[in-house]
């Protein structure tokens, strides 16, 4: 594949912009540079906003952080809330959480998985898949799906509603609640709330199974298209449990190459900055992380459902595991990398999350009233990592003896996918746009590829990290002129 990141002489080319990218969360635009024959020379996904949460968190007291940082994102606030709380548990010196507290956090988190995945698939992405990539743009949205496929759309609406209600009963409100606090949870689940949710969950599991079957059927109508749309092998990364099972709340880091060969496994996530590094490109506010040992050229990776479903050894819930096996069979023994598999994997996770919620609600410990861990000595620094709906999310803080945050670094899920999304839209540009008359429907193919990653660009735009950072200056011919590295402790090397 030719390098489409930077055209050698952009000034002679025609610019097409998709601005804003829609039916995704946050602010992004795509620019495409074409020559007179509509040959594609440059394709970039730009993240156009910066909000600086990491900077203004500094100087705030640590107990405010889990509540403030969830304002990074209204779609997956629980991820930020819980990742920050996990880091603050460590910082404030708390020990292991009582079972009820950990289970309530898990319940909240898996509730979010259901609502976020349902929202993304049904409200945002399904119009492309059900109505057609190049269908009438005035109807290519959830309203159009409601009109043409009312049952499917309603199931999506109700699945999302259920997830939101799980969050409401654990965090106090649907969006930007306060459930997790350093050392535990502030609210027990009442019997009444448990029964209410338990009564609803079987229907959700059933609908989730139906959704996975639907996407499977869709793939099989045209496997060549679905398997190979924006297909390119990449490294993959995510958390796994100590036995290799999928665990979205806690685990060790596993990274594999495109063929599922292990790069690192069960790695302690508090050492993330020894494994990962970020690069900056002048045309996007979002950074480009990569696996340090492989370097920026070969070390980029993907995270999120498609990575998680494939790098784990199994999914620890029966229905989802059986659906996982069906998806994996499509690769005939090798991992699948077609971008549209993201949707399939996402719906498998939606099913898994619903099963986990059911099991948690059946567990008597979920009604426990002991919600705070014992407090030990102050630690002052902590890393909290969680598998957010869109992928691995890192929160790293240092807090001084006066309880104020002195350092904050966030690598949000979508940032991990930055290079992969750029590669995906370049693949689509070559596959479908190159040399063609550019139509709205063709441009939507680009957005379809971005949407598959379910990017959360708001999250990404808030992140102003202090990761190990490499900046390089290149001349017009692409040769490196100068290079600078900063370690995570701020030292310049």
């Amino acid at each position: 594949m030719p390098n489409l990141e930077t055209a050698p002489s952009p000034q002679k080319l025609r610019r097409i912009a998709i601005d804003p990218v829609t039916r995704v969360e946050g602010h992004g635009k795509v620019t495409i540079l074409l020559d007179e024959e509509n040959k594609v020379h440059q394709v970039r996904l730009h993240i156009v906003e910066v909000r600086g949460f990491e900077k203004f968190i500094e100087g705030r007291p640590y107990w405010e952080v889990p509540v403030i940082v969830q304002r990074l994102c209204g779609i997956c606030p629980v991820s930020h809330h819980v990742a920050a709380a996990k880091a603050m548990d460590i910082i404030a010196g708390y020990g292991t959480l009582p079972p009820a507290a950990e289970k309530l956090r898990r319940l909240m988190h898996y509730g979010q998985m259901v609502q976020s995945h349902a929202l993304h698939f049904f409200h945002l992405a399904s119009p492309d898949l059900l109505l057609g990539f190049d269908s009438d743009l005035t109807r290519r949205n959830i309203m159009g799906v409601l009109a043409d496929f009312p049952e499917i759309a309603k199931q999506g609406v109700f699945m999302r509603k259920f997830g939101q209600e799980v969050i409401h009963h654990t965090a106090g409100k649907r969006i930007h609640g306060t459930g997790a606090i350093p050392g535990g949870m502030n609210k027990a689940l009442t019997q009444e709330e448990r029964d209410l949710l338990r009564n609803g969950v079987d229907q959700i599991v059933e609908w989730a199974i139906g959704s996975v079957r639907m996407i499977e059927k869709l793939h099989l109508t045209n496997p060549r298209f679905y398997n190979h749309f924006a297909e390119f092998g990449t490294n993959m990364m995510g958390l796994v449990r100590s036995d290799g099972a999928m665990d979205l709340y806690h685990g060790g880091l596993r990274a594999t190459d495109a063929g599922k060969k292990i790069i690192f496994d069960h790695a302690d996530y508090s050492q993330y900055d020894r494994m990962l590094q970020e690069g900056v490109k002048p045309w996007s506010y979002m950074k480009f992380p990569y696996i340090k040992s492989l370097g920026p050229e070969h070390g980029w990776y993907k995270v999120g459902p498609l990575a998680r479903v494939q790098i784990c050894d199994f999914i620890p819930s029966p229905e989802a595991e059986s659906e996982r096996k069906k998806m994996m069979a499509m690769g005939e023994g090798r991992p699948v990398h077609g971008t549209l598999f993201y949707h399939w994997a996402r719906l498998i996770e939606l099913l898994h999350a619903a099963e986990v919620i059911r099991d948690l609600l059946d567990d008597p410990e979920i009604l426990g009233k002991d919600l705070m861990a014992d407090k030990g000595p102050w630690r002052g620094e902590g890393v909290g990592v969680i598998e957010a709906p869109r992928g691995t999310l890192f929160h790293h803080y240092r807090v001084d003896k006066d309880d104020l945050v002195t350092f904050c670094n966030l690598i949000v899920s979508t940032t991990n996918n930055n290079q992969a999304m750029n590669e995906a839209i370049r693949a689509v540009a070559l596959q479908y746009l190159d040399g063609c008359e550019i139509t709205e429907g063709l441009l939507n193919h680009i957005e379809v590829a971005i949407r598959a990653y379910d990017p959360c660009l708001s999250c990404a735009t808030h992140a102003l990290g202090q990761m190990p950072l490499e900046v390089s200056l290149q001349d017009a011919a692409g040769a490196m002129v100068s290079r600078l590295c900063r370690n995570s402790d701020g030292a310049i090397v």
């Binding site: 100087g59 107990w63 405010e64 509540v67 403030i68 306060t178």
Partner: protein, 264 residues
């Protein structure tokens, strides 16, 4: 001949005791008049002007006007509430009142008054001042961004705790809370969590450390009851002679809402 000791507030008869102000009489009777700088344990301050009412045709602070037999008081009128809303709006733009990230949210009197007076936005251009916070004290956080300069902490520390930890300095827009210590830091003072001054702040400026958000949404003071309802309920509880758990707990927590309806 005896003189009947009552006034009318918005047409309702309110009896008063000897030496009571209009605000004290109103709160004792369960009639809500908006207020911020008033606290039943301290004398009138009359600086926030939110309790301004019309007494026999003239405007005055209810917290500083003695109740007199036969006074005709108007409080809950569109004109007075509009003026109160403007005062609130000015307080909101003058400081940095970011409710979404504030641990006082749900228990904050400034916020509750905003709800009460149906304030939908701050209308004026925000100052976004850079006031900073003081975390030097081991148990108490001072966040000047949220200070509304009601001087309740100043009064409590001076008049009850006998420590005079706080004072206001500067004038007009430059007014700010200062600390009585060589470095100006709270950590160098004798201030303690058990002090009255640590529990009278109506906003999130003076807060105990490390306990933020321990009360879940739904159980905070103003999650279900407005200030007006709280004042009314508290009077009903008292007159029924019942000791309600909620009321006791809130008093212990230094609730501004319920505190302010204690007998003056």
């Amino acid at each position: 001949m005896t003189i009947e000791r009552y006034i009318t507030i918005d047409g309702e008869i309110v009896h008063f005791g000897a030496g009571q102000t209009i605000l004290q009489a109103a709160l004792a009777a369960g009639v809500f008049i908006p207020h911020l700088c008033f606290h039943p344990d301290f004398g009138p301050h009359a600086s926030c002007k939110l309790c301004t009412v019309t007494v026999d045709g003239r405007n005055g602070s209810a917290c500083a006007t003695p109740a007199m037999p036969g006074q005709e008081v108007h409080s809950d009128t569109p004109e007075l509430n509009a003026r109160r809303r403007v005062l609130l709006q000015m307080l909101f733009v003058e400081g940095n009142h970011f409710c979404p990230g504030c641990a006082k949210s749900g228990n904050c009197k400034l916020q509750a008054l905003g709800y009460e007076l149906e304030m939908f936005n701050a209308h004026y251009a925000h100052f976004y001042p850079n006031r900073g916070l003081d975390a030097s004290h081991p148990d108490i956080l001072l966040d000047r961004n949220r200070c509304i300069m009601c001087e309740l902490c100043v009064r409590a520390s001076r008049d009850v705790d006998g420590k005079s930890v706080f004072a206001l300095a500067g004038r007009g827009r430059a007014s700010h809370l200062v600390i009585n210590s060589p470095s100006g830091k709270l950590g160098e003072t004798e201030f303690a969590l058990s002090d009255k001054a640590a529990h009278v702040c109506p906003v999130g400026a003076i807060m105990p450390k490390r306990v933020g958000y321990s009360v879940p949404i739904g159980e905070r003071q103003f999650d279900h009851d407005s200030l007006r309802q709280k004042v009314k309920k508290h009077t009903e509880w008292r007159s029924s002679g019942e000791e309600r758990d909620g009321a006791t707990k809130e008093l212990v927590n230094g609730s501004v809402a319920v505190n302010s309806v204690k007998e003056g």
